[in-house]
């Protein structure tokens, strides 16, 4: 059901983990629906994405799209990163099954949420960037029972 590229990124996710010196972090998605993505960005003074990491709770496509999205934005300027759409992520993965297209949208949103966080922290405005819709505030989704 998945392309070889999707399987490759799922099996060997690129840039997986946390970034301690991140200056932009965005978390999108909804545990209820089974997908949460978090993107960490380390953006330098020239507004170039020096490093990027991700963490994802979700299906194979969710992991693969997060992984591919981090590859696509790494080393790019903020403006170039803004131009990366979910379509670009999907194409880079040689396509996704129709029911998984929302995963690629989530990857795009996660990048935007991290950029938004960076912009907020640094008091700047990024052209074309709006407040992410499905941004999750920390801890909000962690009300499950303990066992």
């Amino acid at each position: 059901m998945y392309t070889e590229k999707v399987m490759d990124h799922f099996q060997h996710p690129r840039n997986m983990g946390e970034l301690e010196n991140a200056n932009g972090v965005g978390t999108v998605g909804n545990a209820k629906c089974g997908d949460i993505m978090r993107i960490y960005l380390d953006i330098d003074d020239k507004q170039i994405i020096r490093d990027v990491k991700f963490k994802t709770f979700g299906c194979g496509a969710a992991v693969a799209t997060s992984s591919m999205a981090t590859e696509l934005v790494k080393g790019k300027s903020i403006q170039d990163a803004m131009a990366i759409t979910n379509k670009a992520v999907m194409e880079a993965l040689d396509g996704l099954p129709p029911v998984k297209v929302h995963c690629s949208l989530l990857a795009e949103e996660a990048i935007h949420a991290a950029l938004w966080d960076y912009a907020q922290k640094n008091g700047i405005e990024i052209q074309g960037l709006q407040k992410p819709k499905s941004d999750i505030h920390e801890g909000e989704e962690d009300e499950g029972e303990d066992y």
Binding site: M7, F10, Q11, P13, M16, G17, E18, T27, A31, K32, C33, G34, D35, I36, M37, R38, K55, T56, F57, G58, C59, G60, A61, A62, V63, V99, E138, G139, E141, D142, E143, G144, E145, Y147
Partner: protein, 393 residues
């Protein structure tokens, strides 16, 4: 791909070699239509009748109370829709449960759209129907109670005997979907006061595409498929002769091995459950701890999602299933896991492993060892786990 460890026997089973062997002549030599007058046709009528005897015997039913169908879903549809039609003058209320298979749930929803009223009984945290809820739901207009014998996802066995008793006391017909239970646990339709029962061959090492509905003598259930006089005018269509032969062989096999098989599987199941719960933190067992099908284990691993888990298991040749949304083709996780009270995010991280008698302890150890590693990997990748650990300090 090397060796396969098939742990999805609730989805379907391998057709047993002796079943295939019994079926083969009915494709190549004894291919006649049982309704025909000549020998190669008419003799098949007898062959079918023998299988009917075997199956009826396994249930404590009479042979002429077994009606072959194309599978469990057809039997479920028939039981609900034909009862509703036959008794619509008496009442329009049907009681079922929130954890039924979709063949029941969607039939019930269809009847709702036709003016019937359906009560979907809730279940407790183990997936068991509460008898007091059932009693309270009964109305003068109730025409049918349909409660599954055992749940396909979490394996919980329902109190069928008690439910049958309540149905009988209230003079309401009682149907049970025994697709998962038939061949796995002993069933007697008289002892349990069952009026109708659905079953399917491919869940007990028989072929796909053949099932039956048991209909107690005297029930006013009419035909659901029209066109011919087969199955005593209650189910038209040329009999699936090879399928019926295979079903009979599978039931004979399942009946002969039932006690040794269930003892072996229960032991292995409990070993699997104990090790997983002990060795993988933040894990819960779904379904009743003891009143469950001998071959069913269902876990929820917090902070991870089921499809990812299944893909990683598949890479090792391990076949399982999950109730996560991604595997159901919708945005919601399994209705059964939600009905037992699991929050969505925990329901998404479920894994069902269903054994068979060929699975060895070594294979189960291999599965658990790898499961531990995969769950750890996926948690390392999970933002939910990261937040949880940070919160713990």
């Amino acid at each position: 791909m090397g060796k396969i460890i098939y742990l999805d026997n609730a989805a379907t089973t391998k057709t047993a070699p002796e079943v295939v062997e019994a079926m083969l002549p009915y494709f190549t030599e004894n291919y006649g239509n049982p309704s025909s007058i000549y020998q190669i046709g008419a003799s098949n009528k007898e062959a079918i009748s023998k299988q009917r005897d075997i199956i009826a015997g396994a249930l404590g039913a009479k042979s002429n109370e077994i009606y072959f169908t194309a599978g469990g879903s057809e039997a479920d549809n028939w039981a609900l829709k034909a009862t509703a039609e036959a008794l619509s003058k008496k009442g329009n209320h049907i009681i079922t449960t929130a954890i039924e298979h979709h063949a029941i749930l969607h039939s019930a929803q269809y009847l709702e759209s036709r003016g019937f009223e359906i009560t979907y009984l809730p279940v407790d945290e183990n997936g068991v129907v509460r008898l007091e809820d059932l009693k309270a739901a009964i109305r003068p207009t109730t025409i049918l109670i349909s409660v599954m014998f055992a749940n396909n996802e979490i394996g919980t066995i329902e109190p069928i005997k008690e439910i049958g008793k309540i149905a009988k006391e209230n003079k309401i017909y009682f149907h049970t979907d025994a697709v998962q239970a038939f061949g796995q646990v002993p069933i007697n339709v008289d002892e349990y006061n069952i009026d109708m029962l659905s079953a399917s061959a491919h869940k007990l090492n028989g072929p796909k595409g053949i099932g039956f509905l048991y209909i107690r003598t005297g029930l006013p259930i009419r035909s659901f498929i029209h066109g011919g006089a087969q199955e005593r005018k209650r189910r038209a269509g040329t009999e699936n002769v090879p399928g019926i032969i295979g079903f009979g062989a599978a039931v004979k096999r399942a009946t002969d091995t039932l006690s040794t098989r269930s003892e072996y599987e229960t032991k292995l199941r409990d070993y699997l459950i104990d090790r997983v719960l002990k060795e993988i933190p933040y894990t819960r067992l779904n379904g009743h701890p003891t009143d469950r099908l001998p071959n069913n284990a269902n876990f929820s691993f917090r902070f991870i999602e089921g499809e990812s888990l299944l893909i990683k298991l598949d890479m090792l040749g391990i076949c399982g299933s999950s109730g996560s949304a991604c595997t159901s083709g919708s945005l919601d996780p399994s209705h059964v896991l939600l009905a037992i009270g699991l929050p969505h995010e925990i329901a998404h991280g479920s894994l069902r492993l269903t054994l068979n008698e060929e699975i060895t302890k070594e294979e189960i150890d291999f599965v658990i060892d790898n499961l531990k590693e995969i769950v750890t990997q996926l948690r390392e990748m999970s933002p939910l786990y990261e937040d949880f650990i940070k919160k713990q300090g």
